[in-house]
Every structure is written in C-alpha cells, then in structure tokens.
C-alpha cells in the first residue's frame, strides 16, 4: 500500500464514520459533529493529494484546504446558532421530534 492510498483510506473511513453519525443520531448537535468529521476527511484528502502530487510547490491543495477550514468554521457557527434557536423554539434538540414544517 502506498502512503497516498493509506491516507485516502483513513479519510474514507473518517468520512463514513461522520456520515453514519449524521444519519443515525437523534441530537441535532451530534448531527453537526458528524458533518464536521466529514468536512475534516475531505481536508485530509486535499492535503494528501497536495503532498504526493506532482507539483507541491504550486500550493493548490494546501490553499484549498485552508479555505475549506475557514468555510467549515463559518458553517459550524451558523449551524450551532440554528440549533440554539431551535432549542429555544421547540424546547428539544431531538430531531425525531421535529416532524412538522410549521412553527
């Protein structure tokens, strides 16, 4: 197994763990945690391809990962703000209990 394949497999495993968490948990915060893990796995792929690709000095993969980290931070802030608002509105963060579109 080449080093690139090792890193890509770890990233695929991390992505699947995050996807399983996002799809199976009830608590809205834990769904967000799963989404964060998936974003992290994507960043790991970008950095791995940058490191083992033909032109690491062009810095493309590195820049993509840095911007992706920044966007993930914005996403986490908005997502957790939404969860807090939801809790204030419905007094629960249980997603199975959120089964209507009207407030």
């Amino acid at each position: 197994m080449t080093p690139l394949a090792g890193f890509l497999l770890v990233a695929a495993l991390l992505f699947s763990i995050g996807l399983a968490g996002a799809l199976t948990r009830r608590n809205a915060i834990l769904v967000l945690i799963g989404i964060e893990l998936m974003l992290n796995a994507a960043n790991l792929n970008l950095i791995a391809f940058w490191r083992y690709g033909p032109h690491p000095e062009a810095l493309t993969g590195m820049m993509f990962a840095i911007f992706s980290i920044a966007v993930a931070a914005a996403e986490a802030a908005v997502g957790l703000g939404l969860v807090i608002h939801l809790h204030r509105h419905a007094h629960t963060t249980d997603l199975d209990a959120m089964n209507r579109m009207r407030g």
């Binding site: 090792g6 992505f15 840095i66 966007v71 802030a77």
Partner: protein, 167 residues
C-alpha cells in the same frame, strides 16, 4: 507506511468513532476534540505544518468550544434515558457502509494511476504561503473574510433572544 502513521490514524479513527457512538453529548464533544487533534497530527505527518496548526487553532480552539457551548446552552449535557439513535438508524448505517465500500474500492483501484510526484518533502515555508495568499489567492481570501463576517453576524442574529412581543 510508518508506525507513527498507523498510531495517529488509529487515534483519529477511535476519536471519530467515539464521537458518534458515545451516549453522553459532552463525552462526544471531547472525543471530537481527540479526532481533530489526530487530524492535525496527520497534517503534520504530511509535512503541511501550516494546515496542521490552522487545524489546531480553528477546530480545537474554536469549533470544539462552540460545540461545548451549544451543548450547555441546550441543556444537552445529561445522558438521555431512551435511545440516542433515530428511528432510521439502520438505514443510515447501511448507507454509510455502502459509501465506505465505494470509496475504498475507488481508492484501491485508482491510486496507482494517479500522477506521482517526486515524493520528496516539499520545501514550503509560511512565507511562501503568505505570499501566495496575498498575490494569487487574494480574491478568495477577501471573499472568505466577507463570508466569515456575514456568517458570524448571522449566527449571532439567529441565536439572539427575541424579546416578547417584539415580532
């Protein structure tokens, strides 16, 4: 593949697994921090020092703290009595396993065809990254700055207490 890689990958995956499997939400947030730290170590293992330290600053320093704040503000710190998994959890597991099967198959099948670099450690300094951010990538940098400002103001407005009768 070095021993360090297997160790760090094991810690990262164990942290990720614990973050989605544990019952208590605060324990999940702590396990998530372990997964983030392991990921930062993987970045360092890949000679991406800047991304590794940015990961530590942004994820461990900001996102994990935000998650803990959200858990405490939504009173989610007690261990729930009933099941922590949703009604459709079996379907979710099947989908995740299917996605991993496809991704793993694609990685093992296609990595030999990826154009190969020299494999030497790329000599990238923070100076080069700063120069690139200020020259070639200055427009995305400004857009990300705008996005972060807008997202933080939006998050504050969404989470702000509405006064009674002010709607």
């Amino acid at each position: 593949m070095s021993f360090a890689f297997y160790l760090i990958a094991g810690v990262t995956l164990a942290g990720g697994l614990a973050a989605v499997l544990l019952k208590n939400t605060v324990h999940c947030a702590l396990a998530l921090t372990v997964a983030f730290a392991g990921q930062a170590l993987l970045f360092l293992e890949l000679d991406a020092q800047f991304a590794g330290f940015a990961q530590i600053l942004v994820y461990i320093g900001a996102v994990a703290i935000l998650v803990v704040f959200a858990i405490l503000l939504t009173k989610g710190s007690e261990t729930p009595k009933g099941s922590v998994y949703s009604r459709h959890s079996l379907m979710g597991l099947v989908i995740a396993a299917g996605v991993f099967a496809v991704l793993g198959w694609a990685v093992l099948k296609s990595v030999p065809a990826v154009p190969r670099g020299t494999g030497e450690t790329p000599a990238v300094t923070v100076l080069q990254i700063g120069n690139a951010l200020m020259s070639r990538y200055v427009l995305p940098l400004e857009i990300v700055a705008l996005l972060l400002t807008a997202a933080l103001i939006g998050a504050v407005i969404i989470a702000m207490h509405e006064k009674e009768g002010a709607k």
